[in-house]
Amino acid sequence: MRPSGLAILAFATLVAVGPARATDSTVKIGACLSLTGPAALYGTQQKAGILAAIDEVNRGGGLPGVKLEAVIEDDGSTKEQGIAVYQRLIGRDRVSAIIGPTLSNTATAVDPLAQAARVPVVAISNTAPRGITDIGNYIFRVSLTEGQVIPAALKRAQARLHFGTAGVLYGNDDAFTQAGFGVMKGALEAMGVRIVGTQTFAKPDRDYNAQLTALIALKPDILVVSALVENAAGIVTQARQLGWQGPILGGNGFNSAALVRNAGPAAEGVLVGTSWNRASPDPANQAFLKLMAARGVEPDQFCAQAYTGVLVVARAIAGSGGKGGREDIRAGLSKVKDLDTPLGRFSFLENRDGSHEPALQEVRDGRFQIAP
């Protein structure tokens, strides 16, 4: 199909009247996202968040004299394609900074390339406690780790439910769920909650009746579960079938709309920590919600984190006097402190991990809602 004359005319007019400032320098920001494959659900939200933030920064004039340009590429949810994307972004597109990749697993393979090429990376959804920011001094992360979200979620849950004993169930054949268990155990002990029983399962398991029956028989006040979403839906369903009516609190693996979809009514009342408090009345969050609504996107945590990732890069450029080189951005990132974002007041810690206040959400009426 050839473009019609009218369309070309319209485009030309648009370009002519656009806010073109001759002095603007363009800073290219690469993004390596999982837009296809199993993590596509996350990547699509991230893409929407990045594009919205870049438009917002360019339009709002937050960076005078600088125009941000996004180069978004798909890693297909695989390490291999992620490596190719990083090589293109670093070598061919010569981007000043990279946002992503979507999956922690991919990050462990691709971030060393950026570190070696001295290109700053802002991770927006990697939550593995180790192996991301400790790759090197060019790797930063906006997303909170399990070690930050779970203790905060447990504290908020206890303030509401006043539990004194807990039964713990976790997957012991997966690095992510095992690490989540370590965090849960430490946090429960620190809070003075007695762990009355601990049970394990493996990723391929589909039957958790034996573990759940044993835990329920010990009559804990709460069930605390570290599992990936596939297992999580089965665990929640079977716990309810076994007559468990008490609260269930899950790790980050529960933080997915698929949990509600797959477990249905059994998921009601499930508690999960989250990095983004959708209901926060902060002006930065309200503005973000309004912006996304205007763009026709129903944002989730991944969208808010991606949006914040761009704000953080913009602040870094501003912090280094409007210069958008790779070294400038790296230097600027390490100085980001108390930035108002949809996630709350955001700062980088000494180890380049992000820091802000996490929240607790609960499944109510078939969807995640922020728990008061």
Partner: protein, 296 residues
């Protein structure tokens, strides 16, 4: 305690049903049909399609799926086993050829249904809360569990009747005893073997549907979770012994549940298979294996 027994019987009924089909073909042909787990998996997907796309009731979809699985069994017999039967080393050749069939079927499922876990739509079985469930000696038994254990028991009884009381059953048993003698006595050996494949695969298919319903999780690799366990069950029960397979299926289900509850999930398979080893040492023919293995 009571609840764990229910959990064990529930799991055991599926193992037993799966192993019954496995052991039936072994009893007749002396061949392990490794494609049995693939039939189990495909049947689960077929039931899912019948229920979610054609909106059939589960208890209607079950016999339809069993018929499909049976026909798949006939096809397997025709393609993977019959051409090899006349060869001198047909046991090993059949084993390998069934492995090939399993791989092909799994690849087909992967292509058609994708690698993700599929689920029966919510409401396939009527939702129920704890108050509606049956309380039995301190244990909660859901309608799902009753249905699954019930269907399994009905199928055990039907199979026993078929094998012990019908002409077809007598022919199958005669072929199991000695194909040559059966042929001399006028039994249509090919027909008896085909029939045992049909029945075996239909049972494997039923186990697949029940497994899919029980844990509501269907994926192209789900056969692997029962493949080795089915093998363990038929060895413990006595190769070719049908009551042995049922007994050992329930025993494995109960053992797994109690190991998980008291020693932890990591020990489940280790203890179960250590038990298998012990039984092999103490009772080489299995719990109910009366016939001595034929000399190679």
């Amino acid at each position: 305690m009571g609840q764990q027994v229910v959990n064990g019987l529930f799991l055991g009924s599926i193992y037993a049903l799966f192993a019954l089909g496995y052991t039936l073909v072994f009893g007749v042909l002396d061949i392990l049909n490794l494609a049995h787990a693939a039939v189990f998996m495909l049947a689960s997907f077929v039931a899912l399609v019948l229920v979610s796309d054609l909106h059939l009731h589960v208890l209607v979809a079950l016999p339809c799926t069993m018929a499909f699985a049976g026909l798949l069994g006939l096809l397997l017999e025709r393609v993977a086993f019959r051409p090899l039967r006349s060869r001198s080393d047909s046991n090993i050749a059949g084993l390998i050829s069934s492995l090939a069939a399993a791989t092909v079927l799994e690849a087909v499922a992967l292509e058609v249904f994708g690698p993700n876990v599929a689920r029966f739509p919510l409401g396939t079985l009527p939702a129920e809360d704890a108050a509606q469930q049956l309380h039995l000696l301190g244990a909660l038994v859901s309608r799902l569990q009753i249905t699954i254990i019930g269907v399994a028991v009905i199928l055990f009884l039907a199979l026993t009747f078929l094998v012990q009381r019908t002409r077809l059953g007598r022919e199958v048993r005669a072929v199991a005893e000695s194909p040559r003698a059966a042929r001399v006595l006028g039994v249509n050996v090919d027909r008896a073997i085909a029939a045992s494949f049909f029945i075996s695969s239909a049972l494997g298919g039923a186990a697949g549907v029940l497994y899919g319903l029980a844990f509501n999780s269907i994926s192209p690799d789900m056969g692997r979770s029962v493949e080795l366990k089915g093998l363990a069950v038929i060895i413990v029960g006595g190769m070719g012994s049908m009551p042995g397979a049922v007994l050992a299926g329930f025993a494995l289900g109960l053992t797994e549940v109690f190991v998980v509850a008291h020693l932890g999930g990591s020990w489940r398979d280790a203890i179960s298979f250590a038990g298998l080893f012990l039984i092999l040492v103490l009772r080489p023919h299995g719990l109910l294996g009366a016939i001595s293995p034929r000399e190679a």
